[in-house]
Structure formats: structure tokens, C-alpha cells
């Protein structure tokens, strides 16, 4: 590594290009682990200029987050960070001491992490958190509390927070997710940095809030802020970025202007990522690059599998009841997928639990017409597959739990068969869920759910915790299995793209009520309710379904 250190020693700090906020060449980050050093970042180079938005896109483990932290000198105590050049705000950060970094952090570069609730100290008020950067970098005296308070309120107002005087006295847990993210952005901008690094700034947010946060960032960019956006979501990136770097395995596989990369991806990995995004245009096709058509499904509208009528459920809380679900009625036919979409707190998960019988309704009924065979009640594919496995059970026992009606040898054979159906080798049966990857665990959960041959499968955010490419595989698998088994599916998700991709009909929920329902193409292309319209308008343009980029695909089994 002596050559790189020589390179830094020789090269003078650039004073010519003052618009260049960050300039990193050949960045490497190593982490020592027991299994040997992990080379997390392998030679990433990037530059961000004033008023420019550069996006780094990749899946988990791609090294994108490590890169963003290395740029502020926070890659971790054990990280070994090397670069041929690392210039921050025109200074050679390769020679920075911890003190130099402290001078630069917050004042030259701001950092916004994904989880706004976790990124704000829960024991401190918004004012204290936002004021921290002011204490460190501001021109105000350390003791000028009144001046700092005014400055904080100004920052909060600039971040689009109403009633800043009230909000600044509140604690993070007292704010909504959107306000929290705004407060976090305000705190990152408090020291007046010219570059903001945002690591997945909208990932945990509802789609309407996501749109607002992206607006805020775009507005700051117009004011001259440089933005380095780290994200897994190409669609979000397409909406705000000027240039994009696609990273995989710690390396940049493709980079260029956002329109070029998304419009004409050159690298196979970029194509895989793009084709994995479920949307209106992907309906009826696989989410793999070949976009092969999915097997036809037949929907038997005369054979309803589940009929729910007038469901209502409220939970008692101190200071009144919360109506989680109000007057929800639905029917799902054999072979049909009903999408249930809504933002957090809309009551969609409660509806799922009511159908499963895990929660008793206050009012209304759930019937399963024609369910004579016992043990074939509705089954669940949950979001948190790991939490749904008994930690003492190997995979084989997990899958076999619902097969109690079979004798030992038939049960064993059936477990192997089920694992094969979800694309897992039989050897997985002996392993424990904690030894599997997230995608494999979700497959195990699916195998367990289809084991007793249920007539209804409830999928509650089954792919929300997965990477895009893994999500694509799991969605493809679910579609194939459904076509093969003719199961009715209730698909609960916050992700409109996923719901549009998988559903035949859709219910849109808000505040415990169904605001709109109908065939998914009709509802998402010509929404009748203003809330549905708002949801769809909040989607990044790349996945907004109004004008599908692909030729319309005939509805599978729409006419039967």
C-alpha cells in the first residue's frame, strides 16, 4: 500500500475545483473477522459536486453503507480504510486526525441514517439533538440557549416541520415518522454542510411521506446542496439523482447519468435489479431479466374460498378505543389473489389476523365455504419468518409441524417434496433457520404454509424484509405455486408496486376502512378515491402505473 500513500503525499490538495465537495479514488475498506479479513469496499471512486445528486445503489452487503460512513471517517473502529485519494471539501482527508474529522463532520458533510427513530437519541429533545451540531460548529456562544433555540426552530421550519416551537420541545418518539426524518435532516444540516450523505433516507417511511422527504431533499439540492444518496431502491433514485453508481460486492459495476443507467442498463446486474422491480408493467411475467411469462392461473369466481362480512375490531387503549378495522367485507375466490394495500396503521394486518382467526372480530363473520376437510384452515406467510420458527426446531421439524395427519415415512417424504417445491435442497431439513439466509427462511415459511394444502394463503408483507432480487425470486415462487395449487391468496403489503404485480383485485385501506376496491388495473390506473390517487401520485415516477412502460399484458384468467 506504499504506492497509494505516496500518491497522496505527492498530490497537492486541489484548490482549483471548488465545486468538488467530495472526491474519492479507489476506496478500499477491510474489516478483520474471525474468518479472515472481509474486503467490504473494493476500489470505489466517486465525486459529488455542489448542487449535484449522486446515488449509490446496491443490495445489502454491497458495501454502499460502509462507503458512505467511510466518507465521514466513521467506518468503524476495526475498519481499515485505504484510498488513493480522499478529498473532503478540498482538504486531504487522508491525513486527517480525529480532531480534523470532528471539525469537518457536521460542518462540511452531514450524514442522515436510515432509521430516524434510532438515529435521534430517544432520551433527548429534538432541540437538544438539532442544537448539538450548532453547539459544535455554530457561531453562537456555547451558553446562548435562547439564540440556539431560535436557530433550531428556524432549521426545523426550513425542513418543513410545522409548529417548530412545539416540536423542538418534544422527544423523537412523540413525532410521526415523517417529522422524525425531517428533524434528522434538520440536525444534519444544522452545521451548514455543503454535502449531505443520506443512507436510505426514505426506506422505512410510508409512500406518501417518502414523497415529501424526497421533495425536501430536491429543494435543498436546488439551493446548492450536494447530495450523496445511498439506496437499494432504483425507482426512488431515478426520481432525484443526476448520476447513479450501481454497486455490487463492494465494486461499482455500472455508473452514468441516471436516465442512461435506467433506460439502457449495460451491466447484467443492473438489468437484474431493474427487472426485479415489481410494478404495473411486470404483471403476469417473471421478475427475472428474461421476463418470461408466468403460468396461467384460473380464477373460479363461483367458488369463494373465504367470505368475510362486516368485520370490525377495536383495541382498548388508555384514553379510548382504537378502531383498527371498521366494516370490512371481502371475498376471495379459488385461484385468486386479493391485494390489501395501505400505509402503516391502516388496519391491514388486523384484517389478515381476523381472517386467520388469530384475532376475534368484535362484529362480523368470517366463513370458509366448502371447507370440509379439517386441518386445511388458512395459513400464514409472515414478514418475520425467523420469529415464526421455534428456535429449537430444525427446518424439517418446522415444515413437518402441519403434517401431523401423515405417518412418519410419508411425512418425511412430504417434507422433502415441499422443500423441493420451494426450491430448497432436502439437506436444508437438518439445518436450523438461523443458519439460513433471509430468502431461504422465507421459502421455508412458504413450504410450511402450503404443507397442509390450505385453500387460503395469507401473505402478510412476505417480502418486505428482503432485498429486491430476493424479493423477486420469492414473488416468482409464490406465483408459480399459486398457479400450480390453485390456492386463494390474500396479499397484504404497503408496497403498491408489489401489490400491482401480484394481485387480481385490490382493496385500499385507510384508518381501518376500505376506501376503494376493484380489479387492480382499474383501481391503480383510474383511481376513484382521492386517497388512492394520493398514494399513486406519491410513487416515484419510474414505478407510477398510470402509463405503463411495457406493453399491456393480458390479465391472467381475468375472464372466466
Amino acid at each position: 500500500m506504499s504506492s497509494t500513500s505516496l500518491a497522496t503525499a505527492v498530490r497537492p490538495a486541489p484548490g482549483q475545483d471548488t465545486d468538488l465537495l467530495i472526491d474519492v479514488q479507489d476506496l478500499h475498506v477491510h474489516f478483520p473477522t474471525g474468518a479472515g479479513p472481509v474486503h467490504a469496499v473494493r476500489g470505489i471512486s466517486l465525486q459529488v459536486r455542489r448542487g449535484e445528486t449522486v446515488a449509490v445503489v446496491g443490495e445489502s452487503g454491497s458495501g454502499k453503507s460502509v462507503t458512505s460512513r467511510a466518507l465521514v471517517g466513521l467506518a468503524g473502529p476495526h475498519a481499515r480504510v485505504e484510498a488513493a485519494r480522499l478529498h473532503v471539501g478540498g482538504q486531504d482527508a487522508g491525513r486527517f486526525t480525529e480532531r480534523d474529522w470532528q471539525r469537518v463532520r457536521g460542518a462540511e458533510i452531514g450524514l442522515v441514517l436510515q432509521d430516524a427513530l434510532g438515529s435521534l437519541d430517544p432520551l433527548r429533545t429534538v432541540e437538544q439533538e438539532v442544537g448539538e451540531a450548532l453547539r459544535r460548529h455554530g457561531t453562537l456562544s456555547r451558553w446562548d440557549r435562547r439564540g440556539r433555540r431560535a436557530a433550531v426552530e428556524e432549521l426545523l421550519a426550513a425542513a418543513g416541520i410545522p409548529d417548530p416551537a412545539v416540536r423542538s420541545r418534544q422527544y423523537p418518539h412523540e413525532l410521526s415518522g415523517g417529522l422524525r426524518q425531517r428533524a434528522l435532516i434538520a440536525s444534519a444540516l444544522a452545521g451548514g454542510p455543503s454535502l449531505l450523505i443520506a443512507d436510505e433516507p426514505t426506506t422505512a417511511l410510508d409512500v406518501t411521506v417518502q414523497a415529501q422527504i424526497l421533495d425536501l431533499l430536491a429543494q435543498r439540492k436546488r439551493d446548492g446542496l450536494g447530495l450523496l444518496l445511498v439506496s437499494h431502491d432504483l425507482a426512488v433514485v431515478a426520481a432525484v439523482a443526476d448520476r447513479v453508481l450501481v454497486v455490487s460486492g463492494g465494486e461499482v459495476v455500472e455508473e452514468g447519468p441516471v436516465a442512461d443507467v435506467i433506460g439502457a442498463p449495460a451491466h447484467p446486474y443492473t438489468r437484474t435489479l431493474l427487472s426485479a422491480i415489481p410494478s404495473a408493467g411486470s404483471r403476469g411475467r417473471r421478475l427475472s431479466p428474461d421476463r418470461a411469462p408466468l403460468p396461467e392461473r384460473s380464477i373460479d369466481v363461483d367458488a369463494p374460498v373465504v367470505v368475510a362480512d362486516g368485520l370490525g375490531k377495536s383495541f382498548r387503549r388508555r384514553g379510548g378505543a382504537i378502531h383498527a378495522v371498521r366494516d370490512v367485507s371481502l371475498t376471495i375466490s379459488r385461484g385468486e389473489t386479493l391485494g390489501l394495500v395501505g400505509e402503516s396503521g391502516s388496519g391491514k394486518s388486523t384484517v389478515a389476523r381476523l381472517l386467520l382467526g388469530l384475532t376475534r372480530p368484535d362484529t362480523g363473520t368470517v366463513r370458509f365455504p366448502g371447507a370440509e376437510r379439517p386441518g386445511a384452515g388458512p395459513q400464514l406467510v409472515p414478514q418475520d419468518a425467523f420469529g415464526s420458527f421455534d428456535p429449537r426446531y430444525p427446518v424439517g421439524a418446522v415444515v413437518a409441524e402441519g403434517l401431523g395427519h401423515l405417518d412418519r415415512t410419508r411425512r418425511r417424504a412430504r417434507v422433502v417434496e415441499l422443500l423441493d417445491q420451494v426450491g430448497l435442497p432436502a439437506s436444508v431439513a437438518e439445518r436450523y433457520p438461523r443458519q439460513l439466509s433471509g430468502g431461504q427462511r422465507q421459502r421455508v415459511a412458504i413450504a410450511r404454509a402450503i404443507g397442509p394444502r390450505p385453500r387460503l394463503l395469507v401473505c402478510d408483507e412476505p417480502v418486505s424484509a428482503l432485498d429486491v432480487s430476493v424479493q423477486a425470486q420469492v414473488l416468482d415462487l409464490l406465483a408459480e405455486l399459486q398457479a400450480e395449487l390453485g390456492t386463494a391468496v390474500l396479499f397484504v403489503s404497503h408496497d403498491l408496486g408489489v401489490v400491482h404485480h401480484v394481485s387480481d383485485r385490490v382493496l385500499v385501506m385507510r384508518h381501518g376502512e376500505i376506501v376503494e376496491s376493484g380489479p387492480v388495473q382499474r383501481v391503480f390506473r383510474a383511481p376513484a378515491h382521492p386517497y388512492t390517487e394520493l398514494l399513486l401520485d406519491s410513487l416515484p415516477p419510474a414505478v407510477r402505473p398510470i402509463r405503463p412502460p411495457h406493453a399491456p399484458v393480458p390479465e391472467p384468467g381475468a375472464t372466466s
Binding site: G34, S65, L86, G377, G387, F389
Partner: protein, 293 residues
């Protein structure tokens, strides 16, 4: 090479760090040593004759207050008795009381905790209140109260220590049961048509009681300390019977002339209790590793 940063722990932790094989072995060294200590102390309690030929009770007027040496590794006391022999023979009492009191505490605590955890809301409320009230009594004082009402004696000591420790176990078991009862895998079992009893036996009990070995190991240590503490205060087995606590009480009076009288019995207690803590901590880490990603 430019080393940019050596601070900020979070990023490194978010890396999928593999546990090193070699370090696991080095980490296991204290656990092995501690388990060895416990086995050794257990053996002392069962066959003290294998560790010392000297009589722990017979006085030897010629060899009084000898400092530790080749003949008497822990020295001798005021009556010329071999301190090593008294410590070895004392293991029986301390360990017996510690073990039986722990078993009693576990029985009471686990049963009440389970009842509260799986039972009706009112039962839970009642049992929790009982734990609250019992928990408000300092263990030693509760034991002293019991002894002053019921008198000393080994059985009373065991009951006193056991009852005093029971709420500790009960609270943990109740909390674990409540958590497991709402776990995703219990709901899944219900969906798969597994009945309530089968669910309780297959999933709730084994997972809720998974912490019992940990509790028991750590509890054994504190029960040994409680037993020795009562012995120190003079409520244990009466002299000349050797018991770790009363050995220390005797030693306390002769510290000026024989430091070894106060040091070695205490060392025996401490080494034993540290061993239980090390083994318990190891079990706990293993349990947590198994139950998390």
C-alpha cells in the same frame, strides 16, 4: 496505507462478522476451568476423605495455629485442627444447603411463574402481587424472620433460603412465558391445527424454561452465599461441625494472630461462586446466541 478511522463501533458491528474458531476455544477456557472447579467441589462434598486424611473435628493441642506449610496447606486453627480438612469437609454442608434450597426455590418459582404466565389474567395479577410483596423483603432478613419463628436446623435453613429466592425465579419464568406465548411460532402452530395443550408442551414450556439452567446455575452461587452468610451469623450447623460460613466467623476473631483462618474458607466460597457465575454466564451466552440471528 492511510488509516482513516479507529472510532465508531456501529459500522463494524453491522458487518456479518463470523465468529473465529480459534477464539471460541480460547473463550471456552474459563468455562472449562470453572466446570472443573464445580466438579472438584462436588467431589469434596461427596468423598471428602479422598482429598484429606486429616480429621476435621479432632483437636491437636500440639499443632495449634500453625501457618500454612507443607504439612498443613491451609494451616491449623486455635485447637490445632487442619484448616484444609475443615474446608474440604465444610463443602458438604454449604453445597447441600445451596443445592436443595435452589431446587426448592426453582420448584416454587417455576410453578408460580408458569401459572401466572399461562393462567387467567386475575391469577397472573395475584401471583405477581405475591412476588412483589415477597420481593420487597430482603432475602437474608426474610430468612432470619423464618429462623427466629421456626428455629435453626438444616431443614429450616433450606426452606428459609429457598422461599426467599423463589420470587426471583418466578418473575423471570412469568416474563419468559408471557413473551413466548405471543411468539410467532406459537401462532403458526395454532394455524397448523396444533391444539392448545400440545402448543404449550411443544413450544411454550421448552422455550419459556430454556433459561432455567442459567437461573439455576447463577442461583446456586447466591444460595451458597446465603447459606454461608447465615452460618457466619451463627445460624448454621453448630460447632464443631465444619461449615464455610462458621469457619469464617471463627476466623474473624483471630485475624490478628492467624490470617489464614479468615482467608481460606472465604476463598473456597468465592472460587465456588465465581465458578457458578462463569458457567451460568456461558450458558446464558449460548442460549442468546441460539435464539438470535
Amino acid at each position: 496505507m492511510i488509516v482513516l478511522d479507529r472510532a465508531g463501533r456501529a459500522a463494524a458491528r453491522s458487518q456479518p462478522a463470523q465468529r473465529p474458531r480459534r477464539r471460541v476455544r480460547r473463550e471456552q477456557l474459563p468455562v472449562l476451568a470453572a466446570s472443573g472447579v464445580l466438579v472438584l467441589v462436588g467431589a469434596m462434598a461427596l468423598v471428602p476423605g479422598a482429598f484429606t486424611a486429616a480429621d476435621p473435628i479432632l483437636a491437636d493441642p500440639i499443632a495449634t495455629l500453625r501457618p500454612p506449610g507443607a504439612e498443613h496447606p491451609f494451616g491449623t486453627d486455635l485447637l490445632g485442627r487442619d484448616v484444609w480438612a475443615r474446608v474440604v469437609h465444610g463443602a458438604r454442608h454449604s453445597l447441600f444447603i445451596g443445592l436443595t434450597a435452589t431446587v426448592l426455590a426453582l420448584l416454587v418459582g417455576v410453578l408460580l411463574g408458569l401459572a401466572a404466565g399461562v393462567g387467567h389474567r386475575y391469577l397472573d395479577e395475584f401471583v405477581s402481587r405475591v412476588f412483589d410483596v415477597l420481593g420487597a423483603f430482603p432475602e437474608l432478613l426474610l430468612a432470619l424472620l423464618f429462623i427466629s419463628l421456626a428455629g435453626t436446623g438444616t431443614a429450616n435453613l433450606i426452606i428459609a433460603i429457598g422461599i426467599a429466592a423463589a420470587p426471583r425465579y418466578g418473575r423471570v419464568v412469568r416474563a419468559e412465558t408471557l413473551a413466548v406465548r405471543n411468539a410467532g411460532y406459537v401462532e403458526q402452530a395454532a394455524l397448523l391445527g396444533i391444539g392448545a395443550w400440545a402448543r404449550a408442551l411443544r413450544h411454550v414450556l421448552p422455550n419459556a424454561l430454556g433459561t432455567i439452567p442459567i437461573l439455576a446455575t447463577l442461583g446456586l452461587g447466591s444460595a451458597i452465599i446465603s447459606a454461608a452468610g447465615l452460618g457466619f451469623l451463627g445460624f448454621g450447623p453448630q460447632p464443631p461441625l465444619p461449615e464455610w460460613g462458621s469457619l469464617l466467623a471463627e476466623g474473624r476473631n483471630y485475624l490478628r494472630i492467624g490470617w489464614w483462618l479468615g482467608v481460606f474458607p472465604g476463598l473456597a466460597i468465592t472460587v465456588t461462586v465465581v465458578a457458578t457465575a462463569v458457567v451460568g454466564g456461558h450458558l446464558q451466552r449460548r442460549f442468546e446466541r441460539r435464539n438470535s440471528l
